[in-house]
Subunit: 983 residues, 2 copies
């Protein structure tokens, strides 16, 4: 028989018994089948997988097979996983929540749900570092920025933040670093949400900022504070619903040299005078109510907008407009320089992965509804709130606030119901959640999802509390006036850009979504071999439960007994992550890798402090480390000391030792990535960790490369005390075109007591650090993806995945080595799960840069590997286990063909300035140039179809190479206006 | 403010009250907003919509506004619809079904579910009549054909049939027409499924075939029958599970000059000697268990495979391989000539819309599993059945069949349980359905979805019936031998084509699915203005409930009390359709428009017979009718008499009258499409119907154009007695790239008693005709789409949709009229919902054919309108209400620009043989030709970007114009083989 008989390492054998399921996941997740594995092993000269792994992973650090196997993590099939997810989903109670505090039941327009959130063309791509094959999501992110700028009336906004609390913390730090070094006091209004306050407390610590909470108006009058104020944070509307006029307060803060940071709500801003009009310097908030499911806390996109003078200090990613080499308008990531790779320990923010997918959903929501639609929604929310307030007041309840948008705080003391507890009990019996404030106060927040029947049911709860008769809909009169005083009402227009006023029919919206998607290269097209990013399959099975209402429609602050399903998933995921890392406890709160680093280092700091060693502030970090490492260390209040690395990527153990001993008494931590950022399994890792421990420090292991380790070694065995994982790398959460991410940390036993707490968690450990993100379990809903991934692979599948990840990388290394300079291999000739090739020679020989190779790869239909990191002249290539041999070969063939093209340039057959690489990429529009315009010493065919398979399947970049210099000079970060569109 | 303030006719006013929902559907469904409507009305010279409609629809046939309005059909919002669908879904009980009879719980691979079934790029396109922009689904349909050919071992297979029963009926008819005219007896084995038999009975009537049922082996020995036999139908395995060797039987049938039609099961064929190896001439079956949800009966793809000598007689659509003008391989629809447009009343099949989307799902399932995966599944199913049989035999039950694949029939009489009724009662109490056969027999069929726990639960039912102790999984031994005798086992290989042995990892599968999708133009890209096809929005909201298990995982023959939700939806949909058509009763059984025609005419025939007027066999049909009309009439046993039409499309009433009177005593029916196929609201329709009624006939109204009528007129008012609707046109079921469809009929009171029955319906009316399709409610699951569509639009939204459909068409007519010859307008200058332009002049002037214009439209990113029908030199353009003015203008601009291009050819500026139209379409590959190869008297820019907006958004055909002559000469209908791929 000609057909291949089996696929995938895990499927070598037929089903183990008649009663074993057939829809097993490992054979679908792992790309190479048995035949391919054998072929690769023999290409590398190994008789068996074991021999190969033995030569690749240092024996000293290997862990027993039993550490991760099907006994410890039993594999379930895809349909079994769904059955289990349904069962657990059923244990999450779908109460109607009026808790508010920044979280709402969003109404996701179905066309966006299905065509963005559930569409792999949107959720599988990477951060748009390669703009020529990412114009779709770049345009959408520009829409997001424009939406934020327009609604807040600020000059510039970035392309999303992790959540409102961390965005507020970034604002605080911006105020701190903008002010003179003596100004260390940051005022936080008591109307700020408690989760934001908690995150501010954590973040303030590292920077030495003095956070003072209270009524900001009063605090500003306090002479003892005034001179030290670097900024204030106010919330508008505040967490209790009140809306205050901050115009004069802003003037006062400015006169003191401080910044005004305003946390706000985009929907409210359709009706409220925007912060940009009354003096805010920084405006932050969360865009989740624009059509992003609550998901028990996230993910969703927060935003960050500033006045023009602060724009070059903004954290995060900023999309800008530029032009391509043909002079056509094109989008790109601007101001990447602000990211931590450049500033390292001088960075004041470590944000890297953000929330692109969710920002795109929110932007699409604004595109779909437009200004009029948003106002209709805001009006409804506002009026429902008014009707509610009027009705309960008629029953005898007292409202604390008369001015509001969507939230009222009620004082229930002195009413028939007696106290808040009784109201909550009645509400819960009716399937309703209200905000718990204190014994006598209750918060009630309305959102778009509240139906008239919901409102009546809610009023019934209050009526029965007040012992009055229930109301019916016909009793409820539509309010005639607004509860927002005229002086606070918005008069300026918003979202007048054409994009928000065009795609309002579903057909148009659908076409817009698909049109943008068609410009972007994702995993639906080809391998994305981004080193350090682990772009593996994001399986449909693991994505499906995510958008079930039982997971998506849960407020993060509901009582624990309503989320038994979520809690089981969280517990199981934590347990599995501990098993995989060899650690004792985990926290899923950090919502990105960088947030995990920050959390882990803060835990280490707290540990030292608990032992009276608060002076331990030095953090050793190799020069080769990812830029987030030093940035995170600095944010956690550590002083970074750089450790040298050898040119092959290995740590300079001598230097490490010297520095550890030198800083013996101050040594807090050592941060190390394993395998290293060079793709190196350093045999000396345990020795390095021992040096640190011997000198009183703790070891932080950056787990970005955990995919190389599972079941073969683990961070604990390597010698670490803490590690973070990127669930959006190793554990198959899609990258979403630049986020979401989840960066949980696992810690050794002795650090467990210090893991982050959260105001919404029932108890706070005595030693716990404060919250590091806005929701108790971070981006909780997408944990379901990693949970499903782990359970479906099972222990064996996880280990096999790591093995194949190593094999795929080594196979590629062996194919490319004759053509390119491989920067590192171990004594057996092996790399880890990724390979680093150095292109420096081409620059020397012919002025060809890494970028030229990268852009030319686009012409071959591939997303280029990670470029110029960790070494400026290199490419870091990571295939992952999900790619088949055929795909690896396709990529290698492309690289080799480009090598030939380069040779022609080196030998002078092709000119140095006008050639296939320098002119790459070649979009279709270039193909249609007239003969005179074409003007290149090679044919269109050679440009477009350098290898035969491109005739059958080719992804076309939609623009020519983007002019970065032009973009840097002309920083424009919003959509084109009507005038520009028509000019 | 610059933003437009409102969208869509239904949203002229702000929400009617605070308590009105905001996520209302009409404003999303209807493309033009208020401003656009006003603009179009004034372009046409009307002050109001009423004035426009008044001038467009003949006053005589108008119906009162109250006939369809928000009182009779209240509008619900999108979220309200989902809430209601959840509630009704909850009323469908998810029992585990072992009923079999051709229906199974399919396990849909998640990657296919989400990326094909739930992906508008796959479900919105039309039948691939324009192959250059449909290479993706053409390739997939070739995969389907190859899969069927390979598994059945037949020479050729078509691209799907509506269901197994109608496919079997087509086989019977093929046997009938292939044989000498004296052979009218068709034998049907008693092992054939009852629903197939019922459909054969219906179908046999019209052709005068004598269906004889019984044991075919015995029947063939019957001397009285032998000489008249044209064919036999056998089922393999049969409905009771038995598998017989039909080798000698086939020889016998052949020696009698008959055809052997075999109904079979694709999964069984992985293990059984295929029918092509033992002599079958025609093989039919249903591919639903290949990953297509049961959906309470459908849709799913049936198949039809024949030996080479029968290939040119096959019904349905056949995809073939050909090449394009550049000589590249390319797919296309072959043998379209066999469709009814050409053969009309000589056609023996009326199938038009088939089941493309579901065929693609089944084909993708085979691509995903490959031969080995399918065999694994078949082995599991077979062994579970063996384990079950062994276990229940040990409990004392008797099996009727010892040879089987997945089904056993048990005789429960004489066991402790006593009778079948008691077994069913116990099973139902355990949430299990078994097949009801009779008092002592029960059928049990296994499928891929049965888990070990399910098996144990099933055995428990039997154990308790037998009063023996229950079994546990560990008691169950894996069978060592097969229950299929060696002589019946398959030895030949199958699915050895590369496509079935490549895409087995999810990543590869995902890329294959998206790669194919990227070649096809659908509604996600642009307007598809296909006249007579009503390509409107297929809203996400209406699609979402479809794939909930509560709707998708329901066997069609479960007891009514398990499908309360479905029954409510069916009832509500029937009621609304009656309201809309003005009729009294409906049947949702027909699963295409053509099937509806056939059902409706059969009803008319039965009516006449019931009145003792069985001689009424003449059916008058205008020459302009769709080809399915005469074909359906012929199939229903009617004699077609053509009625003339005037050149403007209006009926020749004189001719009608003459013929009606001439055939007075034989007059059965008159078929008319309204508005006519010319897009004409004929004022004389009532007069025409009166002529028919006066002469004893009934009027059949083809409702393909119902979108022009809703709430303005209706088929009853026009004078009809029966009509069918195309729910896949007027009521927004997606076309799926060539199916599924639903073609329900509505009838006047006097015809209600004759509506189709079905063996699975609890009662059969005395006068009912037999079944017309395999399931009682046809393609039941997709009725949910139309139900949702109607409920979300509400009466007002439905009427507004029709109005805007008329307005859009008239606006386009007014824009195109200065440039093209509009074939028809009424006395007020108005067309109906579509317009017919005549291109004859261009052929005369410059040899430019309709096809040349159509292919050039592809270069502008549009799907061409319906070409050369109903008039060879015309294009029929139907925009629907879902397109915005901007899109209409884009299309008109393209048509006008093409007119200019044609002018250059007419005037000789461009040569007649080498020009933009003749060379169209221009795929990217042509752009990359070298300058010498390019060799055209126009630039690449002019070819690719004739209008400016194409620079921003352009859909590229993937091949050049396809060489039909070559394809006709070389009929190749399977995938390329390994050899061809590598040559
Ligand atoms: C080695 C390393 N550490 C940390 C990070 C930061 O992770 P995140 O982007 O999730 O914040 C990355 C991200 O690429 C990384 O590669
Ligand atoms: C006028 C008319 N009648 C009947 C039909 C047949 O409908 P179906 O393709 O659903 O069988 C069509 C299909 O396009 C049609 O246009
Ligand atoms: O499909 C049609 O024949 O219109």
């Amino acid at each position: 028989r000609s057909p291949r008989t089996v696929r995938g390492l895990a499927s070598i054998k037929p089903p183990s018994s008649l009663f074993a399921p057939l829809d097993t996941f490992p054979e679908r997740h792992i790309g190479p089948d048995d035949a391919e594995v054998s072929k690769m092993l023999s290409a590398l000269g190994y008789e068996s997988m074991d021999a190969f792994v033995g030569a690749t992973v240092p024996p000293k650090i290997r862990v027993p097979a039993a550490s991760v196997d099907n006994t410890s993590i039993p594999a379930v099939s895809e349909s079994q996983l769904h059955a289990r997810a349904r069962e657990l989903g059923g244990q999450n109670k779908l109460f109607k929540s009026y808790i508010g505090m920044g979280y709402h039941s969003a109404v996701v327009p179905p066309v966006i749900l299905r065509n963005v959130m559930e569409n792999p063309a949107w959720y599988t791509p990477y951060t748009p570092y390669q703009p020529e094959i990412a114009q779709g999501r770049l345009e959408s992110l520009i829409n997001f920025q424009t939406m934020v700028m327009s609604l807040t009336s600020m000059d510039i906004a970035n392309a999303s933040m992790l959540d409102e609390a961390t965005a507020a913390a970034e604002g605080m730090v911006m105020a701190f670093v903008s002010a003179s070094s003596k100004k260390k006091t940051f005022l936080v209004d008591s109307g700020v949400s408690p989760q934001t306050l908690a995150v501010l407390h954590t973040r303030a610590k590292g920077f030495g900022i003095n956070v003072v909470t209270g009524n900001v108006f009063a605090l500003l009058e306090d002479e003892t504070l005034r001179s030290g104020i670097c900024g204030v944070l106010i919330q508008y509307p505040d967490v209790n619903g009140t809306i205050k006029d901050f115009t004069s307060l802003s003037k006062k803060v400015h006169s003191l040299g401080g910044l005004v940071i305003c946390a706000t709500d985009l929907l409210a801003l359709t009706k409220l005078k925007p912060p940009g009009e009354w003096g805010a310097d920084v405006v932050v908030g969360n865009s989740a109510r624009f059509g992003v499911p609550a998901g028990y806390g996230g993910p969703h996109a927060a935003f960050f907008a500033v006045t023009d003078r602060l724009k070059r200090k903004m954290p995060g990613r900023l999309i800008g407009r530029s032009r391509d080499t043909q002079g056509k308008p094109a989008y790109r990531l601007s101001l990447q320089t602000r990211e931590q790779h450049i500033r390292r320990e001088k960075a004041t923010s470590n944000i890297c992965t953000s929330q692109a997918l969710l920002a795109n959903m929110a932007a699409m929501y604004a595109v779909y509804h437009g200004p009029v639609g948003l106002l209709r929604i805001a009006d409804k929310v506002h009026k429902f709130t008014q009707v509610f307030k009027t009705s309960v007041e008629a029953m005898g309840y007292k409202s604390e606030n008369q001015v509001f948008f969507d939230t009222v705080t009620l004082d229930v003391s002195g009413t028939a119901v007696g106290n808040a507890h009784n109201v909550h009990a009645a509400a819960e019996a009716a399937g309703i959640n209200l905000r718990h404030i204190d014994e006598s106060h209750i918060g009630v927040t309305f959102d778009e999802s509240v139906s008239p029947a919901d409102l009546v049911a809610l009023l019934d709860v209050f009526a029965s509390g007040a012992k009055v008769s229930t109301v019916s809909l016909s009793d409820l009169a539509e309010p005639k006036t607004s509860a927002i005083p005229e002086s606070l009402q918005r008069t300026s227009e918003y979202l007048s850009h054409p994009v928000f006023n065009k795609h309002h029919s579903e057909t148009e919206m659908l076409r817009y979504i698909h049109h943008l998607a068609s410009k972007d290269l994702g995993l639906v097209h080809a391998m994305i071999p981004l080193g350090s990013c682990t772009m593996k399959l994001n399986s449909t099975s693991s994505m499906i439960p995510l958008t079930w209402p039982e997971f998506s429609n849960v407020h993060p602050f509901v009582p624990y007994d309503q989320v038994k399903g979520y809690r089981t998933i969280i517990k199981e995921l934590e347990d599995d992550l501990c098993r995989i890392t060899g650690f004792a406890a985990a926290s899923l709160q950090p919502n990105s890798g960088a947030a995990g680093e920050y959390a882990g280092l803060s835990v280490i700091k707290a540990y030292h402090e608990s032992r009276g060693e608060g002076q331990r502030e030095v953090c050793l970090i190799p020069l080769s480390a990812h830029g987030t490492n030093p940035a995170s260390a600095a944010m956690a209040g550590l002083k970074v000391v750089a450790v040298k690395v050898h040119s092959d990527g290995n740590l300079d153990l001598e230097d490490l030792k010297t520095k550890a001993e030198k800083h013996k008494d101050q040594l807090a931590a050592f941060m190390i990535t394993y395998p290293s950022t060079f793709g190196v399994f350093e045999a000396g890792v345990q020795a390095a960790c021992k040096i640190i421990h011997d000198n009183g420090g703790q070891v932080y292991l950056d787990g970005a490369n955990l995919n190389a380790q599972i079941g073969l070694t683990n961070p604990a065995t390597c010698g670490g005390d803490v590690c973070h994982m990127n669930l959006h790398k190793t554990f198959a959460i899609p990258h979403g075109g630049g986020g979401p991410g989840v960066g949980p940390i696992c810690v050794a036993e002795h650090l467990a007591p210090f893991l982050p707490s959260h105001p919404a968690m029932p108890e706070k450990g005595e030693l716990s650090i404060d919250a590091v993100s806005a929701a108790p379990f971070g981006s909780a809903s997408i944990n379901v993806i990693s949970w499903a991934y782990i359970k479906m692979l099972g222990g064996q599948g996880l280990v096999d995945s790591s093995k194949i990840a190593l094999l795929n990388a080594n196979y590629m290394a062996s194919r490319l080595a004759p053509h390119y300079t491989l920067r590192y291999k171990n004594e057996n000739g092996r790399v880890a799960h990724e390979l680093l090739i150095d292109l420096a020679e081409f620059d020397k020989a012919a002025g060809l840069k890494v970028t030229d190779f990268a852009k030319r790869l686009q012409d071959y239909g591939f997303h280029p590997p990670t470029c110029s990191w960790p070494i400026a002249t290199c490419m870091l290539i990571e295939p992952t286990e999900s790619e088949t041999l055929e795909e690896l070969d396709r990529f290698c063939d492309a690289m080799i063909q480009i090598r030939h093209e380069a040779e022609d340039i080196i030998t002078g057959k092709q000119p140095k300035d006008n050639n296939l690489l320098k002119n790459a990429p070649h979009p279709v529009s270039v193909m249609t140039l007239s003969d005179s315009e074409w003007n290149r010493p090679y044919s269109r065919q050679t440009a477009a179809y350098p290898l035969p398979w491109l005739h059958e399947k080719k992804f076309w970049p939609t623009v020519s190479r983007i002019d970065d210099a032009y973009g840097d000079l002309n920083l424009i970060c919003d959509c084109p206006s009507v005038e520009e569109m028509t000019s």
